[in-house]
Symmetry: C2
Subunit: 355 residues, 2 copies
Amino acid sequence: MQKRIVILPGDGIGPEVTAAAERVLTEIGTAYGHEFEVKHAYLGGAAIDEYGTPLPQETIDACQQSDAVLLGAVGGPKWDSLPGDIRPEKGLLGLRKSLGLFANLRPVTIFDSLADASPLKDEVVQGVDLLIVRELTGGLYFGEPRERREVNGEETAVDTLIYSRSEIERIVRRGFELARERRGILTSVDKANVLESSRLWREVVEEVAGDYPEVTYSHMLVDNAAMQLIRNPKQFDVIVTENMFGDILSDEASMITGSLGMLPSASLSESGPGLFEPIHGSAPDIAGKGIANPLATLSSVVLMLAYTLEMPEEAKALQKAIDDVLKNGYRTADLTDQANVLSTDEMTEKVVEAL
Amino acid sequence: MQKRIVILPGDGIGPEVTAAAERVLTEIGTAYGHEFEVKHAYLGGAAIDEYGTPLPQETIDACQQSDAVLLGAVGGPKWDSLPGDIRPEKGLLGLRKSLGLFANLRPVTIFDSLADASPLKDEVVQGVDLLIVRELTGGLYFGEPRERREVNGEETAVDTLIYSRSEIERIVRRGFELARERRGILTSVDKANVLESSRLWREVVEEVAGDYPEVTYSHMLVDNAAMQLIRNPKQFDVIVTENMFGDILSDEASMITGSLGMLPSASLSESGPGLFEPIHGSAPDIAGKGIANPLATLSSVVLMLAYTLEMPEEAKALQKAIDDVLKNGYRTADLTDQANVLSTDEMTEKVVEAL
Ligand SMILES: CC(C)[C@H](C(=O)O)[C@@H](O)C(=O)O
Ligand SMILES: CC(C)[C@H](C(=O)O)[C@@H](O)C(=O)O
C-alpha cells in the first residue's frame, strides 16, 4: 500500500522519538512492501520559532492531505511566557479542532516486565487493561464565551462547558463500539449530580445503549471514578468521558503503570486522518541527549497501523517486537536504575531487530 | 463554654455516625465543663421525605444561628430518580451557599496502623500528610447560565465556570495561611494552559503570594496533579484549587489512605459557623446495621473543635483517643477482614474510654 504520513516532531524530545518512529516505519515498509511517503511539518514551539505561530496553515494543509499524523510532543519553558494565543499547546488544540479529532483513545496496559515501576501494589495492577475514550473537541476546551468581564465592578473570568447531543452521541458510540470489540464493559463518567451537560450526557448514553445490547454499561461520577481508578483499576474495560474529565482521568490512569514513557495515544476523527502521539510530554530536561524512551512513540505507531492505516498484521508484529525487547530486559534510562541502559537509538535498533 | 451545635444526621449511615459524635461531644462537654446545646435538623433525602425539599428553611435558620454544624451524609437510591432540583445533593449544595462555606478542607493523613489498607505501595504512602483546600461555592457548581438550549436546531447543554478575583483571593489566602501553619509548601492547581478562569486564578496566586514570603508556592496543572498524587503524594503539603478540580482530586487523594471510613472534612466560611462531615457517603448498603465506622465523623468533630469552637486542647485529646484506639487494634468491619470486629457503638465506647 501507499500511505502519506505527516510527522510533527514538535519540541523537546519530540524530534528524537519521532526519528525512532520513522526508522521503524521504513523498516516495516520494506518488510511488508508498503510505501510510506513521509513529510515533516512544524507544530508547537518549533512552529513559533519558525513561523511565529504554533499552528501554521501549511501544517494544517499537510495533515489534512495525509493518511495519518504522528506527533512527538509540544511545549517547553522557552515558550512559557508567551501570551496564551501563541503558546505551543494552542497549536495542538487548534490541530485537534481542524482535523475534527473528537475521539482520544488512551489504552493503559501493564507490561508484566515493568509492573514494578507502578506506585500501586502488585495485586492492584497485575492484569490491568483499560482504555480511556476522551471527547477531544468540545466542552470547556472550546466553549464560548471564554473571557474576562467586569461583574459588579470586579474582574471576573468565564469559561463555558457546552455539549450538543450530536457531539456526545458520536463519542459515546465510539465508546460502545470499542467496548464491544474488547471485554464488553463500558463505564460512562460524568458529574450528573451537578452539571447540566452531564445530565444530557447521561441521557444520550441511555439512548445509545439500546443499539449495543452486547455491552454492559454503567454510569460513574467523576469523583468516584478518580477513586476507583486507584482502588481497583481492573474493574474497568472502556471508560468514556468528556474532555476535561478525560484529561484528568487519563493522566491519573497512566500513572497506574508507573511508566509514562510506555504509553501511546490515538486521536481519531469521523473519517479523516488520525493523530498519534506518546502521552509523555516534551521532557525539555533530557532533550537532545539521545536518552529518551522511544517506546511510547513506537506504540503510537502500533495504534496508527491498527486504527488508520488498516495494517493489523503489521501492528501486531510491531507490538510483539516491543514486548519482546522488554522481555529480553532491554531498558532506557527512565525504566531502570541500573547502569547498563540503552540510548534512544540503541533501543530503536533492538525493536527493528525484533521485527 | 456554651456552644450551639446543629446536627444534620442526613441519610443512610448518617444517623448512626452522628449519634456516635453526639455521644462523644457529651463526654467532652462533661470532662471539660462545656455546655453543648445540640439541635437536630433535616437535610437531603430525610428532608425530602419530611418536607418535600432537600433543604428546608428551618434547617438553614438553625444552622445560621449555630456555632457549628455536623453533617452525617446525604443521598441514596431511594431519591435517585427524583428531578434534579429536589435531589438530596441539592440540599448540600444549597447549604454550602447559604452558609457561605467557600473553603473545604480535606486533610489526608496515613494512620500507621492502617497503612496496609492503601492500594499504593508502602514506601509511597508512609508519612503522607497533605491538606486539600477546595473552593466550594463558585465555579461550575454555581455559574450561570446552566441550561438546555437549542443551537442550530439541536439540543445543547451548558454549564458556566466563572470566578471573580475576590472569590479566588479569599480561598487562595486561606491556602497560604494554612500552609504557613504547616510545612510552608503550597501547590496551586489549575489548568492555565486551557482555561481563562485558571489564568485569572494564577494571576491572583502570584499577587497574594507576596504577602506570604514564608510559604514556598508553585503552580501545577490539574492533569499533572492527578498523576503526582499517586506517583509521590509526599511531595505535597497544602494543595489549593477550584471547586470541580478539588472535588476530583480530593476524592483521588482520599484513596491514598485506602480507608475512606477514616477521613474528615471541614467547610468554612469567612466568620460564620463551619460545617463538618466525614468524606464517606451515606453507604445505603450497610445503613441501619450498626456496623458503620464512626471514626471519620469523630475526626470531623476534631476539626470542629479545632477550627470553629476554639477548643484546641479538646481537639488534641479526641485525636489522641482515636489514634490510641486504632493502635490498640480495635477495628470496625470496613478496616479488617478479621472476625473480631466492633460495631459502631462499641467503637464509639472505645473512643470514649480512651478520652
Ligand atoms: C497540552 C494540553 C492542552 C493537553 C490537554 O489538556 O488536552 C494535554 O494535557 C493532553 O492531555 O493532551
Ligand atoms: C454530592 C456532591 C454534590 C458533592 C460535590 O460534588 O461537591 C460531593 O461529591 C462532595 O465532594 O462533597
